[in-house]
């Protein structure tokens, strides 16, 4: 994964709660075996509505997506994160993310920015008033700010995940450094635990 230090840009305000991953990328797109080419599927059913926020010209070129409460609920499909990234977003802001979606973000370098509901609402209003409002997300400082609107807050990211963002580390490579511990763990697993096929 590519290292991410700072995300700066404008935002799209998607003012809906419970945006589930079936809306982010409908299941028809999940039949593909590739990891790229999902940008066209992003919110594809909602995008048929000309007034949908992603279709509004004033938000063209934005690289930050602001969602409502419970963003990314539902299916575990990582395709949702791929679609958001491949469309051009580098970060998503929400008062609350679904667990699997949030995990998937951190595996791909899409910054999940959890902020309190009041800040989220204020930021959405500010972006609606000024679609060119510049927002900066700093992964090292764990801050998000929009100075022109007088908005600034912090967001949480556990130390391991923050380090992986900043260093662009490969998760699997990190775990493989612990192979001796895994080997050791396997010597004392309970003997009746099920297994199939060849070892």
């Amino acid at each position: 994964m590519k290292a991410v230090h700072i995300v700066t840009g404008t935002a799209v305000p998607l003012d809906r709660t419970d945006v589930d991953t079936d809306q982010i990328i409908p299941s028809d797109w999940l039949k593909r075996v590739e990891r790229t080419g999902f940008e066209k599927g992003l919110f594809s059913e909602w995008r048929d509505d000309r007034d949908f926020v992603l279709n509004q010209e004033q938000y063209a070129g934005a690289n930050i997506l602001i969602g409502g409460l419970n963003f990314g609920t539902g299916s575990s499909r990582e395709h949702a994160v791929w679609a958001i990234q491949q469309y051009g977003f580098d970060a998503v802001i929400s008062p609350r993310f679904a667990d699997i979606f949030r995990n998937n973000c951190t595996k791909n370098g899409l910054v999940p920015v959890t902020v309190d509901a009041d800040f989220n609402a204020a930021l959405m209003t500010a972006v609606r008033q000024d679609p060119d409002l510049e927002i900066t997300i700093d992964v090292a400082q764990l801050t998000v700010e929009a100075p022109a609107a007088g908005l600034e807050t912090t967001f949480p990211l556990d130390a391991s995940t923050q380090e992986r963002f900043l260093e662009g580390l490969d998760d699997i490579g990190l775990t493989l450094r612990l192979t001796a511990d895994i080997d050791d763990y396997e010597t004392h697993r309970r003997p009746w635990l099920p297994a199939t096929g060849p070892r």
């Binding site: 593909r32 499909r77 990582e78 699997i100 130390a159 391991s160 396997e186 009746w192 635990l193 099920p194």
Partner: protein, 468 residues
């Protein structure tokens, strides 16, 4: 030693390394279930990095999301679906993973085949690139859904870095009213806690109502933990669990069985252990439920009227309700019993096990579906299908006008030929009523198998008692 909850005990047993100073724990994974949709890019990742599958013997694959539920002796007509299935077969062969392909006597929905083969046992950690993995928590295991990057991680290392989740106890006391089922219990729970209520937590379901459920019922409850946002959901193992497991293909035998049972009996939450959050429901307050909106917390008792957006104090919930009613084509304050459906789906990892099919068949027997009603009854696995056939259930369904199909995910998620058309309205025993979930423009109402069968017969939402 400090008292611990069931989920904390299982978590601690699986620590390869404990995270310190905010770092993640590294958790060993006992069983990794695979299907065709969320695995191809993970196997590609392994190939690119020159990595192997660390434990193919702890990895089991099956084909479920894309498979058609009729004419399965023919090649899959949809080229993209066919390619995805063929990719899984090739990956399983290349990496030495057992796969149960379409038509195989052990094939089925991934969350149905694990338990029925005895691969799901108490105290385990189980993952799958599928959010309904919590189903396996019914046996007292920590089971959760993961994304494709994590699938690759587990394939390569048999472990996952994870932050320890919080704990939540949901207790359902008392007894259910006549005609209520496990599905109604979990719909009522999600209605209570909301779609985000369980985020960051593992739910332990407790209380007499839960204890009195069969394993099939417990799987239905745990299955929809994700609809309440939870990382996982589980139920302490007990005699019901052991009776279900004994004699299954991968269950322990002989001295191992005795050792396993003795070990499993140490798993339940210790007296005095504390949960981060506790919710209590009274079973007597849980009649047959049905969803009215486009998220699984938008549920109501079937006997009630469709709520008005104005009845929600929170402006966010009010907007969401108004949008949902518009999408669903429903008018506030209409009795749900007056709402007509054109499609009934009985199946999915939530409700496609033998007990679900028996419940639906008991309602269908001696009756007939409403003229013009499209009905699909889809067993969760080839083994469930064989059992149903041995019990004569397909004959009952067919005589009542229901369409009896081959196992698969079917109409739960519109990745195979079984879909809703725009504007069609389904009573569905599946788990998600999201916009377009069962087909673009389709309208989904989540219900229990008995309500689904009764609704197919009545033509409008109905409980079995309404048919008399």
């Amino acid at each position: 030693m400090a008292p611990k909850t069931l989920s904390e005990k299982i978590w601690d047993r699986h620590l390869v390394t404990a995270g310190i100073e905010g770092a993640s724990d590294l958790l060993y994974i006992d069983l990794h279930l695979i299907h065709e949709v969320t695995s191809p890019q993970a196997f590609d990742g392994l190939r690119i990095s020159g990595r192997r599958v660390r434990r193919p013997d702890l990895t089991v694959a099956t084909e479920d999301h894309n498979v058609p539920t009729e004419n399965i002796d023919q090649p899959i007509a949809d080229e993209v679906s066919r390619k995805q299935i063929e990719t899984l077969r090739a990956n399983a062969a290349e990496f030495g993973v057992t796969n149960y392909p379409m038509g195989h006597p052990k094939q089925g929905v991934v969350h149905v085949i694990g338990p029925e083969q005895g691969l799901t046992q108490p105290g385990m950690t189980i993952v799958c690139g599928d959010s309904h993995t919590a189903t396996h928590g019914a046996f007292g295991s920590i089971a959760f859904g993961i994304g494709t990057s994590e699938v690759e991680h587990v394939l390569a290392t048999q472990t996952l870095p994870q932050s320890k989740p919080g704990t939540m106890a949901i207790t359902v006391d008392g007894e259910l009213p006549e005609g209520s089922s496990a599905k109604d219990v979990i719909l009522a729970i999600i209605g209570r806690i909301g779609t985000g209520g369980g985020i960051g937590k593992i739910i332990e379901y407790r209380g007499d109502v839960i204890r009195n459920l069969s394993m099939e019922g417990r799987m239905t409850v745990c299955n929809m933990s994700i609809e309440g946002g939870a990382k996982a959901g589980l139920i302490a193992p007990d005699e019901t669990t052991f009776a279900y497991l004994e004699g299954r293909e991968h269950s322990p035998t002989g001295a191992d069985w005795d050792g396993a049972v003795a070990d499993w009996l140490t798993l339940p939450t210790d007296p005095g252990a504390e949960f981060d959050e506790e919710v209590v429901l009274d079973g007597a307050d849980i009649p047959a439920h049905v969803s009215w909106g486009t998220n699984p917390a938008q549920v109501m008792p079937l006997h009630d009227v469709i709520p008005s957006p104005d009845s929600f104090d929170d402006p966010g919930l009010r907007d969401t309700a108004a949008r949902a009613l518009e999408y669903m084509g429903l008018t506030a304050n209409t009795p749900m019993r007056d709402v007509a459906v054109d499609t009934v789906f009985i199946g999915s990892c939530t409700n496609s096990r033998i007990e679900d099919l028996r419940a639906a068949a008991a309602v269908a027997e001696g009756r007939h579906v409403k003229d013009g009603m499209r009905t699909l009854v889809v067993p969760g696995s080839a083994q469930v299908k064989a059992q149903a056939e041995a019990e004569g259930l397909p004959e009952i369904f067919r005589a009542a006008g229901f369409d009896w199909r081959e196992p698969g995910c079917s109409m739960c998620l519109a990745m195979n030929p079984d879909k809703l058309q725009p504007g069609e309205r389904a009573a569905s025993t599946s788990n998600r009523n999201f916009e377009g979930r069962q087909g673009r423009g389709g309208r989904t109402h989540l219900v229990s198998p008995a309500v689904a069968a009764a609704t197919a017969i009545a033509g409008t939402f109905a409980t079995p008692a309404d048919l008399d």
